[in-house]
């Protein structure tokens, strides 16, 4: 049966039918939201409805952003956080994929490991982050581990769900074709589980910022978390906002990157099926 796409639904405009105002509005709506928030922020600041000590005006934040960019402070600390996130993601996602696959294939392993995994996940990371600093030192290692711990769980769960969600009929078909383990993994399990695993990766990338910054809060030195602490202790609230917005920007960019990878790798899903 031919699957209907949204374009085929009556009443929906097709691309090229003319100006699609609804679609354009949808596309620019996030920007409109940001613009409205900025205007509201400026309006509140201009009327001093909230003390500028607590909420600095956008102009002061913009100036702090320019200053931090010009003297290299922002890039230096952002680079450190990105490095911690990169290695943390590599470690956490790597381990999550391997253990997730193993658990999906061996339910006994799930019984053995799940109490530890659930206990770790249900405890707020800020509670045991100081322990990670004591165990792994005050350098970058403890921040990488903090990041890895926080990104591990979504990857693990989505890998398990993805692998277990592979159609039994297709598994039977692979068996009837006498496909080996590697062939089954490569041609069936990996492509089938990929959408769910990538969805987990999107969650992991946003959590990675939290992991790195929590580590930086506990053990100071450098990074955007440290910049927040330093700026707070120097009563430079605009710089605090700059650091926080930079974290948000990093998080959104990484999310967008994974979404792009998802879009590219899962192009086959969008093709009409016979």
């Amino acid at each position: 049966m031919m699957r209907k796409s949204l374009r085929d639904i009556p009443g929906k405009r097709k691309k090229g039918d003319g100006i699609d105002s609804g679609s354009t509005l949808r596309r620019i709506s996030p920007l409109l939201t940001v613009a409205c928030l900025l205007l509201l922020w400026q309006w509140i600041s201009a009327r001093e409805l909230i003390s500028p000590i607590l909420v600095p005006p956008p102009s002061a934040v913009f100036q702090a952003f320019i200053d931090a960019l010009a003297d290299g402070t922002l890039l230096k600390h952002a680079a450190v956080t990105l490095e911690e996130m990169f290695y943390g993601l590599l470690l956490g996602v790597g381990i999550g994929l391997v253990i997730g696959y193993a658990i999906a294939k061996a339910p006994l392993l799930e019984n053995i490991l799940s109490p530890i995994i659930v206990a770790f996940q249900s405890t707020p990371i800020v509670a045991y982050a100081p322990l990670l600093v004591i165990w792994f030192g005050s350098g970058i290692a403890s921040k990488i581990v903090t990041t890895a711990v926080i990104v591990f769980f979504p990857t693990l769960v989505n890998t398990i769900v993805g692998i277990r969600g592979v159609s039994p009929n297709l598994r039977d078909m692979m068996r009837s074709l006498k496909a080996g383990r590697w062939q089954t993994f490569r041609h069936l399990e990996a492509p089938s589980a990929l959408p769910v695993i990538l969805a987990g990766l999107k969650t992991s990338t946003t959590l990675a910022v939290i992991g790195a910054v929590v580590g930086e809060f506990v053990s100071q030195g450098s990074g955007l978390g440290y910049l927040v602490t330093l700026a707070r202790n120097l009563y430079d609230t605009p710089l605090v906002v700059v650091a926080v917005l930079t974290m948000t920007a990093i998080s959104l960019t990484l999310y967008g990157l994974v979404a792009y990878v998802e879009w590219r790798f899962l192009a086959w899903q969008r093709r009409p099926r016979p």
């Binding site: 003390s51 500028p52 000590i53 607590l54 100081p130 600093v133 004591i134 030192g137 005050s138 506990v218 053990s219 100071q220 030195g221 440290y226 602490t229 330093l230 707070r232 202790n233 120097l234 009563y235 430079d236």
Partner: protein, 377 residues
């Protein structure tokens, strides 16, 4: 006649209500830093023994980070807070008009803890040592900068590691040679670990206090200038209430510890210890009736520590010892008085750290001694 009697009763009742309203303590929040700890004993004593109530306040305590304490006081969301002097200087340079009204810690509480086997009789021996610090900000960093400066050294001469507030663990793991700590607290913990062989090769520790090198302004009570101008009487009453509580804690640490038990859940509170402290507190009250000199009171505190050490183990008494050590940092001939020189020294340190532009606002505006007992400025 009946109407007249009713009028008299009504007037009497109105007067009673008005008087009672006047006497009713006003709810007041004091913002503190850190977490509930025996080091805040004067506040607990102030609440439990009625020093704040006598001053007309029903005080509640809240613990926040130092910058948050300062900002909330600056914008008027709280009337009183406790922060360190360097925070006042930094915050004022960024537009927070707060005034330091009572110097609680008369001695800067930061110092360097190190193994007794290391020779630091000459501070230049710090060169090339690995030193742990909570972070490159706050009183710890100011203290280290001052300590290094007093030896003609700078941060470039040492290997500085930022270790968060984990000095006992990191030091005892051997990751640093020395650590910047609060001298009333962490050296006791580290010393305790060292004495039981749980601190690597370290068997005993020594401490160099920053106060032994330079007099820096430390923790004190702050109020916003707006509040100070609006209701100086309330500020005066709060200062006098706190001063009375502080003096009481200095004079009778057993009493202060007992008051802290109701506020600090983690304090050792074995029945035998509580009973011993109640007896000690009673003895001390009798002793204080004779108006002893400051030295005699200090001697009585040492005797209390020695007496209890014979009956209880070190771990049970650690928090009491923290309190006794902290009292040494509070005690002075004139409680609450702030020296301009200590503010100047702190500003010089902050300038040398690059945290402050040269020639910032007038230091005299940052603090006042007008509410200190016996002062009339």
């Amino acid at each position: 006649m009946l109407i007249f009697a009713r009028l008299i009763i009504f007037a009497a009742m109105s007067l009673a209500i008005a008087t009672s309203a006047q006497d009713e303590p006003v709810d007041e929040r004091i913002l503190l830093t850190f977490i509930p700890n025996v080091q805040f004993a004067p506040f607990y004593l102030g609440i439990e023994d009625g020093h704040f109530a006598d001053a007309g306040f029903k005080v509640t305590l809240e613990h926040l980070q130092e910058p948050e304490v300062l900002d909330l006081v600056a914008v008027g969301q709280a009337n009183f807070g406790i922060v360190s002097g360097e925070q006042v200087i930094l915050a004022r340079s960024r537009g927070r008009d707060v005034v330091y009204a009572f110097e609680w810690f008369q001695h800067f509480p930061v110092g360097l803890v190190y193994s007794s086997e290391v020779d630091l009789s000459d501070l230049t021996n710090l060169r090339r040592m690995t030193i742990g610090i909570p972070g490159r900000f706050g009183a710890s960093y100011s203290g280290l900068t001052t300590l290094l400066g007093s030896a003609g050294l700078s941060e470039a001469d040492i290997d500085l590691r930022e270790i968060g507030f984990n000095a006992p663990e990191v030091f005892c793991l051997g990751a640093v040679d020395a650590a910047i700590v609060y001298v009333n607290n962490e050296p006791l913990q580290i010393g305790s670990l060292a004495s039981t062989g749980d601190c690597g090769d370290v068997r005993a520790v020594d401490v160099i206090t920053v106060a032994s090198q330079v007099d820096l302004v430390s923790n004190g009570l702050i109020v916003s200038r707006a509040r100070l101008q609006e209701d100086p009487d309330a500020v005066e009453r709060m200062v006098s209430g706190f001063a009375a509580a502080l003096q009481s804690a200095i004079n009778n640490p057993a009493q202060a510890y007992l008051a802290s038990l109701r506020h600090v859940a983690s304090l050792p509170a074995e029945e035998s210890l509580v009973s011993a402290l109640e007896m000690a507190a009673e003895r001390q009250r009798e002793f204080l009736v004779s108006n002893p000199e400051r030295d005699a009171i200090a001697q009585s505190r040492r005797e209390l520590a020695a007496d209890l050490a014979e009956r209880f183990d070190r771990e049970t008494l650690t928090q009491l010892q923290v309190l006794l050590n902290t009292i040494e940092l509070w005690d002075a001939d004139e409680l609450g008085y702030s020296e301009l020189a200590s503010w100047q020294a702190m500003r010089d340190t902050l300038e040398s750290m690059g945290f402050l532009d040269k020639g910032g606002g007038k230091l005299q505006d940052a603090f006042t001694n007008q509410f200190v007992a016996g002062r009339d400025e």
